[in-house]
Subunit: 526 residues, 2 copies
């Protein structure tokens, strides 16, 4: 029997608050520190490891976190989710994105359909379509192959697929599987669509329109923008567009598209990269086999996320330590710092995933909570960030927990030896060095050169950023965010906070405003 309770009503949470904080600099020093780093690690799928040696926990705190996880029934709640209970209480929906990657629990039958079969069926439809495009069986009107795919979507229909594409573009070049170059149009700013259109060859471009509801204003606007461009180029838009949407949307049965692929209300936008939202554009770009590898990596991480032993469940463990950092230690922000240029837009995706899921002030029953919930998430790739905002991370007045990601090998394999080491070795040496600099700091009689240390971090280490590794990485963070939502007793799957702005924007466009809103509208010449 699952009960949903606010975190601060749990005895185990009060016990957690009463634990003694770790003196991280001391704990990470000497042979004890070495032993911590060796032992505080757990596999997270696709050959990667989650190492939490430099997070502010010890055996006592880990035991308190385990008791909290137990009392809060966190893995039971995850099981309820993947077995098809109505977890998205606000919108009265199931939460089923995991089913795109594997069958974690029993069959989920909803609306009379086995949902795993439904998602697999859509992936199969996409695969068949993509194979025809790649084989030149589906072409433009002149019978020429499509060379570019352009995703038109915003939010979850943009950030995840874009981050994944960029993460694998160079890998695919080297592997010889970059089938089509991908571009993305998202912003209602007309310069976004115009800019992308100015650099592609529309005659050889296939556009993927992604909107679950089929009513997202930005996306429909950009679709029109693109259609205009196609028509101006003497092309029939319906030969150049496919839709990814829900079966009930206005786009589903339209003859405006070469094909339509379906998702449903049980996959939220920010969790939709594993569905057709990511599957169509990424399969076109890299081939369906590559997307399948990505899903397999995610499935591995999902399986690990079921484990009730927090030390063998990296997503749960990461979530629990994050809650401890946020609520007990009081840190308001978390940075995601991949030491991989390919992951340049991955932090922006995690920013949405995390902040849109858990940036809430009411619990799943709509009652106010008395504790901090989701932190601000930001990040840029290392080593770039070291020459930028790391100054504040090291010596600023706030402590900001860090989530590093690193790979032993580069994607492209092209490298150069300078001063006795390769670039890849320099990259890895830097992330190792940063973890220790943040944790242990350095004394100096000149306080301007002193580093307090005590700044926690974890690192996810992989062999190489492959599709499978990326899938596991994505699933790890999705499951982490979901577990934090459970811990905070939130509904991580709705987003009521985005509604008011939409309503007011419509009023502005209808010139139905007064007061300050009218003044702003006038200032902006609307």
């Amino acid at each position: 029997m699952i009960t949903w309770k606010n975190m601060d009503t749990l005895a185990s949470y009060q016990a957690l608050k009463a634990t003694k904080p770790v003196a991280l600099a001391a704990a990470m020093s000497g042979e004890n520190g070495a032993e911590r780093v060796r032992s505080y690690t757990t596999p997270m799928g696709a050959g990667m490891d989650f190492n939490y040696g430099a997070r502010p926990v010890d055996e006592t705190i880990l035991e308190a976190l385990a008791k909290f996880a137990e009392e809060a029934q966190l893995t039971e709640k995850f099981a309820a989710l993947y077995n098809g209970e109505v977890i998205n209480t606000g919108e009265k929906r199931l939460v089923l994105h995991h089913l795109c990657r594997g069958q974690l629990g029993g069959d989920v039958i909803a609306d009379g359909v086995n949902k795993r079969e439904f998602y697999l069926g859509e992936q199969k439809k996409i695969t068949e379509f993509v194979n025809k495009v790649h084989a030149g069986q589906i072409t433009n009107a002149a019978g020429e192959k499509f060379t570019t795919v352009v995703q038109i979507g915003i939010g979850g229909s943009d950030l995840g697929p874009r981050a994944i594409y960029l993460a694998l573009e160079n890998w695919a070049k080297v592997e010889g599987c970059l089938k089509m170059k991908a571009e993305f149009i998202s912003n209602v700013d007309p310069d976004d669509a115009a800019g992308v259109l100015s650099k592609i060859d529309v005659a050889h471009s296939l556009f993927v329109l992604v909107s679950k509801s089929g009513t997202t204003l930005e996306t429909l606007t950009n679709e029109s923008f693109v259609k205009d461009a196609l028509i101006k180029a003497g092309l029939n838009p319906s030969n150049h567009m496919v839709a990814v949407t829900s079966e009930t949307s206005p786009l589903a049965k339209s003859s405006d598209y070469l094909a339509a692929f379906f998702m449903d209300d049980y996959i939220g936008g920010r969790y939709s990269s594993s569905s057709g939202v990511g599957g169509c554009v990424l399969s076109l770009a890299f081939g369906p086999e590559v997307f399948a590898q990505f899903l397999d990596g995610a499935a591995e991480a999902d399986e690990l996320a079921k484990n009730a032993d927090i030390r063998k469940n990296p997503a749960l463990l990461d979530a629990l330590i994050g809650v401890y950092e946020r609520n007990v230690l009081g840190y308001p922000t978390t940075a995601v710092l991949p030491y991989s240029q390919a992951l340049s837009r991955f932090p922006a995706h995690l920013q949405q995933l995390d902040m849109e899921s858990n940036g809430k002030s009411v619990n799943r029953f709509g009652e106010p909570v008395n504790y901090a919930t989701g932190p601000v998430i930001f990040g840029e790739p290392g080593t770039n960030g070291q020459h930028s905002f790391y100054q504040l991370l090291h010596q600023g007045t706030d402590i900001i927990p860090l989530q590093f990601v690193g790979f032993k090998n580069s994607q492209m394999g092209s490298d150069v030896v300078i001063q006795g080491s390769t670039s890849q070795q320099k990259l890895c040496a830097n992330v190792a060095a940063q973890i220790m600099a943040f944790a242990c700091g350095k004394e100096d009689t000149n306080l301007n050169k002193k580093f307090e240390g005590g700044r926690p971090s974890s690192i996810i280490i992989g062999e190489k950023l492959t599709p499978a590794a990326l899938g596991a990485l994505l699933a790890h963070f999705e499951n982490k965010v979901m577990y934090q939502g459970f811990a905070w007793n939130l509904n991580s799957f709705d987003q009521e906070g985005v509604q008011l702005g939409k309503v007011l924007a419509k009023k502005v466009l209808a010139h139905d405003t007064d007061g300050a809103l009218k003044v702003y509208s006038d200032l902006l010449n609307i």
Copy 2:
């Protein structure tokens, strides 16, 4: 006589803390709200306005901020800076980036040189070089024109120039002044250089190596990477490279470069976009005239930043309100939200500018401060962010002040009418709507749909994102950050916090480690 004192020792700061906070939702409602928005605005150069109607101030607080500015001698300190005093106390350096754009005060003579003349002279050298490149007088060995420019730099040699290039690329396409496409290599991750090299035509590429010291490891490594590629292509690297560096650096007199352009120690990396660091690549990309317009816009904003009347000094006012939000209201983070896709990387540049300048825990004398200093800065363009992290901004448990930027007109002029409005109108309607949604919120008996409001923002409004507008925008934020540094009594111009990581990384590469650092090194296969 200027005295440098910690903020909390000033009577005016204590008086500021004793003021009554503004009830923003009420203040922004009705005709009073309209009047606030109409009156709380000031020009910020290049035809733009800084509107602070929705920031949490009123007449009482503004007066308290003015008294604080006076007691802290903020404009006198700025005058000391632009008149050439040693403001960077840690490194015992002048701070002179303003001189690249104009003569704000008296002549600054340092090292026996009139510094304004020196910087102008370097700009002139760049202009002459660039004109020859564009005219086909400087070409590759085959006598063919260069078509691409690739900046090799990191941190301040990357983020600012990259953000500016992206901000003006589409504008330049439409204006017909995109002379060369620009790319950027920054990360020591070998996939960064390999990725860029895989998509350019090296035979027609000119590389701009940017390192003030001439010793930045990432940059020298990437230079070697590029040289290897040139040699493999049968090309002589010295025909394809220029350097931007200091006169004393090892690069300055090398025959490895077609030309060398100089900056000096009085221009910090994160403030260097106005110098040759930005000037060379941007002049090559857009022409020297465009870069001159950018500098003129910055100079306009700089002039405004001299005004002792805080209501006519947008940078100072923005800084003061930010200090009030950070220290009196206790908000730890600030978001920068440009409603302009062209400004997609501008927040990343401001993140460095702000967090590296003011992420400090000791004052300019190396003594600990007892108050919070620089906040975390993050941001993404709107409307994209609305479909992402805005959920937390609206309904999360922390309040995050917002800095909007919007333009009445698009850059490319290509647009489409859907549902009775253009995309540009939709874009502007959204930012207006967001300001009001954040400020005033909305009541709802369903607390999940309730918006607390009281979330402050300002907006910078311009006609169009032109080079001059961008220059003013950059200078505004530079001056704001500098004023906040003065208020917090920090040295905003050093970055000791980046040193420890460098030292430890060297140890890792030399295999001179033990304890936890050795374990991490092993885990990462170094």
